[in-house]
Each structure stands twice: as structure tokens, then as C-alpha cells.
């Protein structure tokens, strides 16, 4: 038994071996288990799980526009997840991406509406402004931590709410607010980042799109450059953390602030810097959201959840840039595909929440999965031997 060579192993053994090796394998199994839990819940609620998953899957991938919507939905949460992961890697728990997102949105709405510039200047300006403002907002938490030792979890939770009320205050300012509405004026066309926005609306554009199934369908959606920027930001985050002295510094503080301090790194400044960067990332998410999707901001009755979902995405993605891109897409696909179960079958949306919860839950426990796989292996071993 013990001397079995690799070639003797069955395909199943090999698969198990592969899956137990890396985090990717665990994530896949967690997702699978999450789907099983979702199926059970669906069955309890009286729906056919297979049918429901069929709707979900085809509702995400069967048309170019569906894929586009999934991508659009993933953009903000990928970026907030990057923000959270960045903070995590540097030893801080930024629950405040939610509020930083709001601040980014407010700033983008202001700069997008009041400033008039050609696109090639306006877009970068809006993005930079959103990132700067949200960076400073995040920096408040960093400052409070560095200077007064205020735990960032408390300060960012408080700052989330302050940002929400600030948003509601700003939305209602006369001259910014639309006449009879609780929504601001739309940003200028020049700050819009929807792909081919002008052309799409022109008669020629419409004509052309009508004639082209794939593009016609995909461009029905407000597909925008946000996703590309998200990928670029992911690369920048990865690069910064792994290839630069700044990343070295921030991670050192995150892993062991005493050693970092001893090594001559300014710990307080690092914490501040880290929160500023984390905030700026979440702000980019908010800014891009305004530039690509909402075009304006509105009074918020409650938190929208971009920041909180970002926490889940960051954790599912193992806080790595690449992982986050995939988990962001997955999360978005679950949300979007899940929303189609109701009109198709009448199943309520909380099933999706339970499913996402279950997936995250299993992802938290690689040991459970190892344990399960181990038992499968043992059983197989017994069978093979017998």
C-alpha cells in the first residue's frame, strides 16, 4: 500500500491531491458546498434546486449582456475588496470601505458636475479627486490610530455613518440637488466612463449595434472602463505590496510593528499611509461607480453594502489581488444570477444570501475540507486495498 507510485493513483486520487494542495482548491470545494447548502434551502422552500441553479447559471453566462452585467457588478466590490485586503496585509482591519466608498462617490459627483473639462482631463481628475478625498477620509482612522491609539474598527464604523449623513447633507444642497428630487444632477458627459457612450446613443451607433448580435447585446449594458481600472488597480496593489519599498515597509508594520520600529520604519506614518491608500482605493470604487453607473448620488436611507461585500470578497479571494478578481466576479455572478431566480421560479432572494454566507463559511474552514477529503481518501484507500 505505502509504496504505491503516483502512476497507480486513480484520477480521483489525483484530483483530491490537487485540491488539498492549494487555496484555489479549497475555494472551489467551498463554493461547491455552498451550493449544496443553497440547494437544501431551496428544496425546503419548495423549489427545484437544479432548475434554480440552471436559471442562475444561464442567467449569468448565456448572453454577452449577462456577462457584461456580471462584470459591471463585480467592479466596485473588487476594488473595495482590494482596499480591505491592502489594509489587512498591513495589519489593519478597514471596516470603513463602505464610508470611503461614499466619500469617493460624493467627490466624484461634485467634481463631475461642477467642473467642465475635456474628457481626457476630466475623467482622471474626477478619479483622482475621489481617491484623494476618500484617502483622507481613511486617513482620519489611520491618524486616530497612530496618534491616539483609537482602534480602527471603531473609528471606521463611526466614520461610515458620518459619511452616510454627510452624503445626505450634500445631496440636498440647493444647486446640486435636482429640482424636486433627492438626487443630484448628473455628472457631465465628459466624466462618463461608459464604453462608447456617445456613439451608442447616436443613430449610427444604434444601427450598427442592431446589426451585430454580440456587441449589440453586450453594449446594451452600461459596460464601462471601471473593470479595466479595477484590474489595473489590482496589479498596482499587488506590485506595491510585493515589489516596492513602500509595500515592504507597510507589510513589516502589519506583521510586526515592533520589529519594523526597530528597523527604522516610522510606524505611525505607515499606519496613516496604509489607511490613506486603503481609503483611496475604496474611494476609487465609489468614484468609478458614479462615473460608470449611477452618474449622480442620492440620499441614502441605509448602507449600500459595497464595503461590507468587499470584506467578503477580499476574504474569499484570500486577500490576494488575483484571488479578489475572481471572487469579485463570483460574488457578482451569485448576486446577479440569484436575482433571476425570483422572476423565473418565484424563489425569494434571501436564499442567495444564505448561499453566499455558506460559501464564505466554508472558505473560513480549510481544515474542515481537508478533514472531509481525508476521509474520502481513506475510504477510497480501503476500497482500493480490498
Amino acid at each position: 500500500m505505502k509504496n504505491k507510485t503516483f502512476a497507480d493513483k486513480t484520477f480521483a486520487d489525483k484530483t483530491i491531491a490537487y485540491l488539498t494542495k492549494g487555496t484555489l482548491g479549497f475555494s472551489i470545494i467551498s463554493i461547491f458546498l455552498g451550493f449544496i447548502i443553497g440547494a437544501i434551502i431551496l428544496a425546503i422552500a419548495g423549489f427545484n434546486p437544479i432548475q434554480a441553479y440552471g436559471v442562475m447559471i444561464s442567467g449569468v453566462i448565456s448572453r454577452p449582456s449577462y456577462i457584461a452585467w456580471t462584470i459591471i457588478g463585480s467592479t466596485p466590490i473588487i476594488i473595495t475588496a482590494l482596499s480591505i485586503a491592502f489594509a489587512f496585509k498591513t495589519g489593519l482591519f478597514n471596516i470603513g470601505a463602505e464610508g470611503q466608498f461614499i466619500i469617493g462617490g460624493i467627490t466624484a459627483a461634485i467634481v463631475g458636475y461642477f467642473v467642465e473639462l475635456p474628457s481626457f482631463l476630466h475623467i482622471p481628475l474626477v478619479l483622482l479627486a475621489a481617491m484623494t478625498a476618500a484617502g483622507l477620509w481613511g486617513g482620519i482612522a489611520g491618524f486616530l490610530k497612530a496618534k491616539f491609539g483609537v482602534h480602527e474598527v471603531i473609528s471606521t464604523i463611526m466614520l461610515n455613518w458620518i459619511a452616510l449623513y454627510l452624503n445626505n447633507y450634500i445631496v440636498l444642497i440647493e444647486g446640486f440637488r435636482r429640482a424636486t428630487s433627492q438626487r443630484t444632477h448628473e455628472i457631465q458627459r465628459t466624466a462618463n466612463i461608459v464604453i462608447l457612450e456617445q456613439w451608442k446613443r447616436s443613430p449610427e451607433g444604434r444601427e450598427w449595434l442592431r446589426g451585430h448580435d454580440f456587441f449589440g447585446d453586450a453594449l446594451r449594458t452600461p459596460l464601462n472602463w471601471g473593470f479595466v481600472i479595477a484590474i489595473i488597480l489590482a496589479i498596482i496593489v499587488w506590485y506595491t505590496l510585493n515589489k516596492t519599498t513602500l509595500g515592504y515597509e507597510l507589510k513589516a508594520v502589519g506583521y510586526n510593528r515592533h520589529a519594523a520600529e526597530y528597523g527604522g520604519i516610522n510606524v505611525s506614518r505607515s499606519m496613516f499611509t496604509s489607511m490613506v491608500i486603503s481609503g483611496a482605493l475604496a474611494g476609487a470604487a465609489g468614484g468609478l461607480h458614479v462615473m460608470g453607473i449611477s452618474k449622480s448620488i442620492a440620499s441614502l436611507a441605509a448602507m449600500e453594502g459595497f464595503g461590507f461585500n468587499g470584506i467578503a470578497v477580499a476574504l474569499i479571494g484570500g486577500n490576494s489581488s488575483l484571488g479578489i478578481i475572481f471572487s469579485g466576479l463570483l460574488f457578482s455572478a451569485l448576486q446577479y444570477g440569484g436575482s433571476k431566480i425570483q422572476p423565473a421560479l418565484g424563489a425569494p432572494s434571501e436564499v442567495i444570501h444564505i448561499m453566499i454566507g455558506a460559501i464564505v463559511f466554508f472558505i473560513a474552514m480549510p481544515k474542515l475540507i481537508k478533514y472531509i477529503l481525508h476521509n474520502i481518501k481513506k475510504k477510497r484507500g480501503a476500497k482500493n486495498a480490498g
Binding site: V55, G59, S62, H289, A298, P343, A344, L345
Partner: protein
């Protein structure tokens, strides 16, 4: 049978043409996108869904809905329903205005309708119907009742968030109170939340403590707290949107109802009859049963007052009373 239905209908335009050609033979499909409150919000989303269910029961429609979790979901949810081959798609709530305008523009062959739109300067496209409610008219009536029934000459209004949609309730109510009882004082406070029940309760408690004996709320979940305060203090409260008497049968004397269900049913009927009124904004007020007071009002409101209310209602319908829905109009007249 709709397994994967969303995916199977890549050409909604065709479907629709068929429907228009033979409206009586094909089942008409109608669906709605809720706003972030979700379908069971015990408020206008739910009322809208009830309208759909009524259309299903009485007109033989096939109906469904999609719930939105964030503002960002509106567009894609509208599209989900488009792909599902619906004849009429509803957006519920003013927050969806931009999204539905966009959808209507891009899909000129699809029919849309929206509750509480905020079109502003936009032209309403031919394939979109706006449905507005004169919330101020219903509020005026409950204000009138409050003005008549108050024993302390003090009543209260608890708003959710301080913005235009709620101002209709606010100033309509104030006007109604003054109309009934010029000496009555109205205490006004906003909770700045539609969810914080404790805040609503505290505000109402404070109002009762200050001598108010009837408090009207337009504050969603925060309003639960208002009603609870009335129950505990043994004072009166006035509900909103739906008949909230069930929350506190002895204390909710009436509710300013917004009959989203009626409006949706009416639009559905029109669609069935082939006179879908695209390009218009229909305003539902007292005249067409779009707003009104709760049927349970007779439990607490004396019959003679209800009689007066009926008269006032007629006067409003006749245009003899013009109900303000914002601060400027209110201040100009009262």
C-alpha cells in the same frame, strides 16, 4: 414552465408584437422591479405587488418581480425582466427614474411604467407611463381628522428623511390640520432614517410628552416606533402608505394610504384594453382612488368627522381646496 426562462427569450420584441396583435389569446406578462426596500416592505413595494396579484387574479395576467439590493441593481433588474419577455415592466419608486428612462430609450418596443417618477426636465418617452400620487391629499385628510380629534390642540408629524417626497406628507398634513382647526399646533420632527425604530419612538414620545395627542408618521420602519409609542402612551397615531391599524388596533386611528395597488391595477386594465397611455404621467389623487384614508378609520374616528372628511374630499377633488406639497406653497396659503 420557466426553467431558464430568462435565457430562452433572446428576442423580446417579437414576443411583444404577438401580444399586441392578439391581446386576448396570449396571457399578458407584467412584472416589477422593487426598490431597495424589497417586496415585503409593508409599504409601496408590497402594495405594488398586491396590484400585480390583483391583475393576476382578475385579469388573468402572469406576474413576477425582481428585488433590488442596491441602487446599482435597477438597470440590470429591468433588463432581466425585459429578457423574460414581459409586456409591461414596472419600476417601483422614484429612485428608479434614471434607470427606467434609460431602459425605455434603449428599448423603444418595450412598455414600461414607473411609480413615483421624478422626471424633472426629461421628456417622458412614448413607451413609459409615470404614475404619481398626490400623497399630500391623503395626508390632508388625515391631518383634518387629527385637527378635529385632538383634545390638546397639539398634533405631531414624524418624517423619515427630510426631502421632497416626504414634504408632500408633511405639508399636506399640516394644511389638513390647520384647515380643521386653525388653533392646533403641529410639532414636526424628522428621524433622518427610515429604519431606526428607536429614533421614531423617542421622537414620538417627546411629542406626546410635549402635549401632542395624535402623531402622524411618514417614516417607514422608523414609524413602527411612532406607533409603538402611541400604544405605550395610550395616545393616537396615524399610519402611512397602507392601513397600519393592524400594528396597534386601538391606537392607529387612520392611515394615509397610497393605493399603489389600485394604480397598478388600473394601468393593467388599460393595457389589457389596449389603451396603454405611453408618454404620460398619470397623477392619482383622491379623485381616482389613488390615495385615501384607511378603511378601518371608522373604528376610532367619529362618524360625523368622517362625514366632514368626505366633504373635504369632494372639495379637494373639485379643486376648491388646493393642497400644498411643499414648504413654499404651504406658507403661501396657511
Amino acid at each position: 414552465g420557466c426553467g431558464g426562462g430568462a435565457a430562452q427569450d433572446p428576442a423580446p420584441e417579437e414576443d411583444q408584437e404577438q401580444v399586441e396583435d392578439q391581446p386576448t389569446e396570449e396571457q399578458i406578462k407584467m412584472a416589477m422591479v422593487t426598490d431597495v426596500g424589497g417586496v415585503n416592505d409593508q409599504s409601496f413595494n408590497e402594495s405594488a405587488w398586491n396590484g400585480h396579484k390583483q391583475a393576476e387574479a382578475e385579469l388573468g395576467f402572469s406576474v413576477s418581480y425582481v428585488e433590488s439590493e442596491q441602487d446599482a441593481d435597477y438597470e440590470r433588474n429591468l433588463e432581466t425582466l425585459l429578457d423574460a419577455g414581459n409586456d409591461l415592466i414596472w419600476g417601483i419608486g422614484f429612485m428608479m427614474t434614471d434607470a427606467i428612462l434609460e431602459a425605455a430609450e434603449f428599448n423603444p418596443d418595450q412598455k414600461y411604467a414607473i411609480i413615483d417618477p421624478d422626471f424633472g426636465e426629461n421628456v417622458v418617452p412614448e413607451n413609459l407611463v409615470g404614475v404619481l400620487f398626490k400623497a399630500e391629499e391623503g395626508s390632508f385628510l388625515v391631518g383634518y381628522i387629527a385637527g378635529k380629534m385632538t383634545e390638546t390642540n397639539k398634533v405631531g408629524f414624524v418624517g423619515g428623511m427630510d426631502f421632497p417626497v416626504i414634504h408632500g406628507f408633511h405639508y399636506g398634513f399640516m394644511a389638513g390640520v390647520k384647515h380643521a382647526n386653525p388653533d392646533a399646533e403641529v410639532l414636526v420632527q424628522y428621524a433622518d432614517s427610515f429604519v431606526d425604530a428607536a429614533r421614531g419612538k423617542a421622537i414620538a414620545n417627546q411629542m406626546y410628552q410635549q402635549g401632542a395627542d395624535i402623531v402622524f408618521h411618514a417614516a417607514g420602519g422608523a414609524g413602527d416606533g411612532v406607533i409603538e409609542a402611541a400604544r405605550e402612551q395610550d395616545k393616537y397615531a396615524i399610519g402611512v402608505d397602507e392601513d397600519q391599524n393592524h400594528l396597534a388596533p386601538d391606537h392607529v386611528i387612520t392611515s394615509a394610504m397610497k393605493r399603489v395597488d389600485n394604480a397598478i391595477f388600473m394601468v393593467a386594465e388599460m393595457l389589457k384594453d389596449g389603451d396603454y397611455a405611453g408618454g404620460e404621467t398619470k397623477v392619482f389623487g383622491l379623485a381616482d382612488g389613488g390615495v385615501g384614508i384607511a378603511p378601518t378609520s371608522d373604528k376610532h374616528v367619529p362618524a360625523e368627522i368622517l362625514e366632514e372628511v368626505k366633504q373635504v374630499e369632494q372639495e379637494i377633488i373639485a379643486g376648491k381646496i388646493v393642497v400644498p406639497n411643499n414648504k413654499d406653497d404651504y406658507e403661501a396659503n396657511y
